[in-house]
């Protein structure tokens, strides 16, 4: 379509499905939030839908302009949504940080795009790649510089170190459903863009890019996980957790850049993204549910909360341990495919990254288990005020059970999701 700048293939369809489902879950998550205060309902949903549209465009875009529009469309509404709690200064502050960094990153992407255009004169990825290869420019400094600028710009969206600093603040400030959306859909959009760019344009750019990505991926895991260990605010904890997870998702792409085996890498990343989406939404839901019952943002005050809302307690166990990657919950398979793609060629960077990943899986367990530990094992703190709120609204229940089923099913019958991942990767083989 449009001379190859907009394609419909399995990759895009599968990811479109994911985005739509995630947005739907976010809607459900939002119903109560939007109703609970005097927010602008119509605009809220409109903006979310706009963002969804952007994400859908990105999955299909195969030229610079379409992709740029998609990215902007996906992220611009989020600037507003993250500041949706108008009276809340934290929300404002998160919003401005998000905005400034977002715009900066957009500019960097643009600058990179402009360089690419300048070198090749083309906008469509396949053309660009052809010319880069023909004229032996794939490893030229200009191409690399544009790659770096683009990487930085997208790195912001997927919040990898060192472009992650906005994430904790914004996550903390933004309304919870928006945070969930940010950490899932926005991040996925970024990854989709990254996957497309890396595999369509920069696949010949030499090992340097891949190696730097490998390092970024490893450092991201460490920084995310180690910082998450320090958090007392559960949302901030999830923010750092999602940073660490980004490291995992990035890892296969990074190694694919070195080995040029994008099929495996894309397969792993997409599978991870799909599984990650549901368990992360579930995790945010858990925070949401628990916060309804207690008036404290310090999770260490949440002792014994599971006894008040056992369902939330069970959700907490499922989703957080799934994030930690404990079988038979979905997260294990996500980690597994990542390890699998890292080791597939037995090349040293993949191997090292796999070891780093294994260590990080263990570190991650410590803080992922913490919330379950607090709400199930600790005794209630007496000085914290509790709000009786035992009835869980049905939209939230739906979100919970949908995510729950998907998380568990993806752990027990990973075939379903891995087939999606595999299907999506086929395109990249040709």
């Amino acid at each position: 379509m449009f001379e190859g700048s907009y394609v419909i293939d399995k990759f895009s369809l599968i990811l479109k499905g994911l985005f739509i489902l995630v947005t739907y879950l976010t809607f459900l998550l939002s119903v109560n939030f939007v109703e609970s205060d005097e927010y602008y309902q119509g605009e809220y949903y409109f903006l979310l839908l706009s963002s969804l549209l952007g994400a859908l465009v990105v999955t299909s875009s195969r030229d610079l302009l379409t992709m740029f529009i998609g990215i902007e469309l996906a992220s611009t509404p989020m600037f507003l949504l993250s500041g949706w709690k108008k009276g809340d200064q934290k929300s404002n502050e998160g919003s401005i940080k998000f905005f400034l960094l977002g715009v900066l990153s957009a500019s960097l992407i643009l600058y990179g795009f402009s360089l690419l255009y300048g070198v090749t004169g083309k906008l469509v990825f396949s053309d660009i790649a052809n010319i880069l290869i023909q004229q032996d420019l794939a490893q030229s400094p200009v191409a690399l510089l544009s790659a770096i600028l683009i990487l930085a710009g997208i790195g912001f969206k997927i919040s990898i170190v060192p472009f992650h600093s906005w994430a904790p603040d914004t996550y903390e400030g933004a309304p919870l459903p928006v945070t969930a959306y940010l950490s899932v859909s926005s991040k996925a959009t970024g990854f989709v863009a990254l996957i497309i760019l890396m595999s369509k344009i920069f696949f010949e750019s030499g090992d340097g890019l891949g190696i730097i990505l490998v390092f970024i991926s490893g450092i991201t895991m460490f920084v995310g996980n180690l910082s998450a260990l320090q958090q007392t605010n559960p949302v901030r904890l999830l923010a750092y957790s999602s940073i660490a997870q980004a490291g995992f998702i990035l890892a296969p792409i990074a190694v694919a850049n070195i080995t040029n085996n994008f099929e495996d890498g894309v397969y792993a990343s997409v599978t991870y993204l799909i599984i990650y989406a549901f368990m992360n939404i579930g995790a945010f839901l858990v925070i949401n549910l628990l916060q309804r019952n207690i008036d404290s943002e310090n999770m260490y005050d949440w002792g014994g909360l599971a006894k008040e809302t056992p369902l939330a307690g069970i959700f907490a166990v499922i989703f957080f341990f799934s994030l930690a990657g404990i079988p038979p919950l979905g997260g294990w398979f996500a980690k597994f495919v990542v390890f699998r793609s890292l080791l597939s060629t037995g090349e040293i960077f993949g191997l090292s990254l796999a070891i780093v990943g294994a260590i990080n899986a263990v570190i991650g367990l410590v803080y992922y288990s913490r919330i379950s530990k607090i709400i199930w094992m600790d005794s209630p703190k007496e000085d914290v005020q509790k709000t009786e709120n035992s009835i869980i609204p049905s939209p939230l229940k739906v979100v919970g059970f949908v995510s729950l089923i998907l998380t568990i099913v993806s752990g027990i019958f990973p075939g379903i999701f891995s087939n999606l991942g595999e299907a999506s990767s086929i395109f990249f083989n040709s």
Binding site: G83, E93, S114
Partner: protein, 101 residues
């Protein structure tokens, strides 16, 4: 006409914008700096288009899109700044550090 001066101008504009982002305290000024950066990209695109004599005018089209989007972003940015200003009675972005640790 050589393309270098244009590119250098664009790069300079870009750097000025970056400097502005980093140094200006007033949020509005920061927004303006962002405009500078976006415009530097525009110059790039247009210049490249001219240099390559791209018959599809891809660069030109791209820059029009950028202008549009820049406008939208500044609008959003101003909205956010306004909201902040209402709540904090200041537009100094250095004072926004509630979530320091």
């Amino acid at each position: 006409m050589s393309i270098q001066p244009l590119l250098i101008a664009a790069a300079a504009l870009f750097s000025i914008g970056i400097y502005g982002i980093l140094v200006r305290r007033n949020a509005v000024m920061v927004l303006l700096s962002i405009e500078l950066i976006l415009n530097s990209v525009n110059i790039n695109f247009v210049a490249f288009n001219a240099m390559l004599s791209d018959v599809f005018l891809n660069g030109q089209i791209f820059s029009i899109f950028i202008i549009t989007i820049a406008a939208a972003e500044v609008g959003i940015g101003l909205a956010i700044v306004l909201m902040l200003f209402r709540n904090r009675e200041t537009a100094n972005i250095n004072e926004f550090d509630l979530m320091k640790w």
